[in-house]
């Protein structure tokens, strides 16, 4: 009975293949529970911070430096508390973060267009590629004097420094993203019959996304650094007091507690934006591709 034979063979094959699939499908290790996460990634940095503050307190108690140069951890804490209470910290944060955000968005637009142009034109890439890469290693604080001479003590000078700092990273990130796209994937797009636009939209852009995101993350870090350098040096009453300027006031008053407070706030804001915006975005993109657990 050939019909029955075929049916039996088909069922056999289904069972055989399902068994293979069950045996061969990669098993991902289970996600660690909250206790394990605490022990593995939360506890160590807490221990480090406590140790650091302890050593600081020890240095203060033994008068390693005069107290105006090395205030106690508690002095700094009170200064931080007061700076937050009288509103200076919030004002400075809102001025700096809005500048940082605007500067980053402008860099994003310029860097993306530049990256695309360099990717489309081999000639343009050969011509300016080395300089764009070179600019990445130039500390953007070097642009501050030039920006002040061109634009005066103005927001324009600050934004110029931020753009010069962040645009190369973003453009290079996009280029690196495109370079990493396996040629085979583009071939797949052609075999499936996608046109140029379809291939760019459905294959090239998603494939380049991880590299582009890494570029954006680095671009933000560079924006923030450049912004602090620019604010520290560029002072005018019209500009308001950003975090960089708050730091400068501390230096002019010889108030080490305010200096440390400012450094602390600058660090916290930079890290917070990285952790709240870029890290989740990157994790999501990498996880869907199985590149991270």
């Amino acid at each position: 009975m050939p019909v029955d034979d075929t049916t039996v063979a088909a069922q056999d094959h289904r069972a055989f293949e399902a068994g293979l699939d069950a045996l061969e499908a990669p098993t991902l290790p289970p996600r660690p529970g909250p206790g394990a996460v605490f022990l593995r990634s939360v506890l160590p940095p807490i221990v480090a911070v406590v140790t650091f503050i302890g050593l600081w307190q020890l240095a203060y108690s033994t008068d390693l430096k005069p107290s105006y140069a090395l205030p106690s951890p508690l002095d700094v804490f009170w200064t931080l508390d007061q700076t937050i209470r009288d509103g200076r910290a919030w004002d400075a944060i809102s001025i700096s973060v809005s500048r940082g955000a605007l500067g980053f968005l402008a860099s994003l637009a310029v860097g993306t267009v530049l990256g695309l142009a360099m990717w489309r034109s081999r000639w343009l890439r050969a011509a300016i590629g080395p300089f764009v890469s070179g600019l990445q290693s130039l500390p953007s604080v070097a642009w501050v004097p030039a920006a002040i001479i061109w634009f005066g003590l103005s927001d324009a000078a600050i934004y110029a420094v931020v753009l010069l700092g962040a645009v190369p990273s973003i453009a290079n990130g996009l280029l690196a993203g495109f370079d990493q796209v396996p040629p085979l994937l583009d071939k797949v797009g052609r075999v499936l019959g996608l046109g140029t636009v379809g291939r760019i939209r459905h294959v090239l852009l998603p494939a380049a996304l991880p590299g582009y995101l890494a570029g954006l993350k680095q671009g933000w870090a560079f924006s923030w650094r450049s912004l602090m350098a620019a604010e520290l040096i560029t002072y005018s009453p019209a500009l308001g007091i950003g975090l960089g300027q708050l730091l400068n006031i501390g230096r002019e008053l010889n108030a080490m507690d305010l200096v440390i407070t400012s450094i602390f706030v600058i660090l916290v804001v930079g890290v917070a934006i990285e952790l709240l915006i870029f890290a989740p975005l990157e994790r999501r993109v990498l996880r869907t591709r199985g590149l991270t657990h």
Binding site: V188, V191, L194, L209, G290
Partner: protein, 226 residues
């Protein structure tokens, strides 16, 4: 690289192209797929755009298994709702029922290659080109996929051009086996495989013909020694 290649594939026929490295069999397949144009001569594909499978699954890692199949449907401008049901149907056809939501990295090598097969079927072409599609798989998985492919081929009435350097695989699958020479790539000999499908790769008939073809393949390769 290729020279005086002349062969036809009849509707519903399964043809295996066999040859050593450097014989240009992959190039030939790319030309048939329309990924390049021959320097002289012409290729006539009467069934529209052929589907092509590679040695790597070449799935898009940011899409799910179903998403990969749906992209082929999207390229054919199939409507959104129809895409979903059609992708599910094709995944069932390759024995991946209910696995559509899995990401590429959650699938085994054999499962990935079956998703790639479902994606190729989604192109709804009468001609399926396969470029050593099972070469990277282990023997057991390859065996399962041979069975799968023969079943689909006979059910769907496809024409298949299957490139391989594995003689037994060629005899296991094809109705015709074409042996290619290297540098330049030419078709030097042709065998008709008279055994009926499904046939087992370890059957005496497959073994006997594979031994004969291997003899010719070795002779062809030895010509390049100096």
């Amino acid at each position: 690289m290729l020279d005086r290649i002349d062969f036809d594939v009849a509707p519903g026929e399964f043809v295996c192209l066999l040859g050593a490295s450097g014989c240009g069999k992959s190039t030939l397949l790319s030309l048939i797929a329309g990924l390049g144009t021959p320097t002289s001569g012409s290729i006539e594909v009467t069934v529209g755009r052929p589907a092509l499978m590679f040695q790597e699954p070449a799935l898009l890692p940011w899409l799910t298994a179903a998403g990969n199949v749906e992209l082929a449907l999207k390229a054919r401008r199939v409507g959104r709702r129809e895409r979903r049901t059609e992708a599910e149907r094709l995944l069932t056809l390759v024995n991946l029922t209910g696995q559509g939501r899995k990401r590429v990295h959650e699938l085994s090598g054999g499962m990935r290659q079956r998703v790639a097969l479902a994606r190729a079927l989604a192109q709804d072409s009468r001609l399926l080109l396969m470029d050593e599609p099972f070469a990277a798989l282990d023997a057991i998985t390859r065996d399962a996929l041979h069975e799968e492919l023969i079943r689909l081929w006979s059910e769907q009435g496809l024409s298949v051009v299957f490139v391989t350097h594995n003689v037994r695989e060629a005899v296991r699958l094809g109705q015709r086996v074409l042996l290619m020479s290297s540098r330049p790539g030419r078709i030097v000999r042709e065998w008709r495989v008279e055994m009926t499908q499904p046939r087992a790769i370890e059957s005496p008939g497959v073994s006997a013909l594979a031994t004969e073809i291997t003899h010719h393949l070795r002779a062809e390769i030895s010509r390049h020694a100096r």
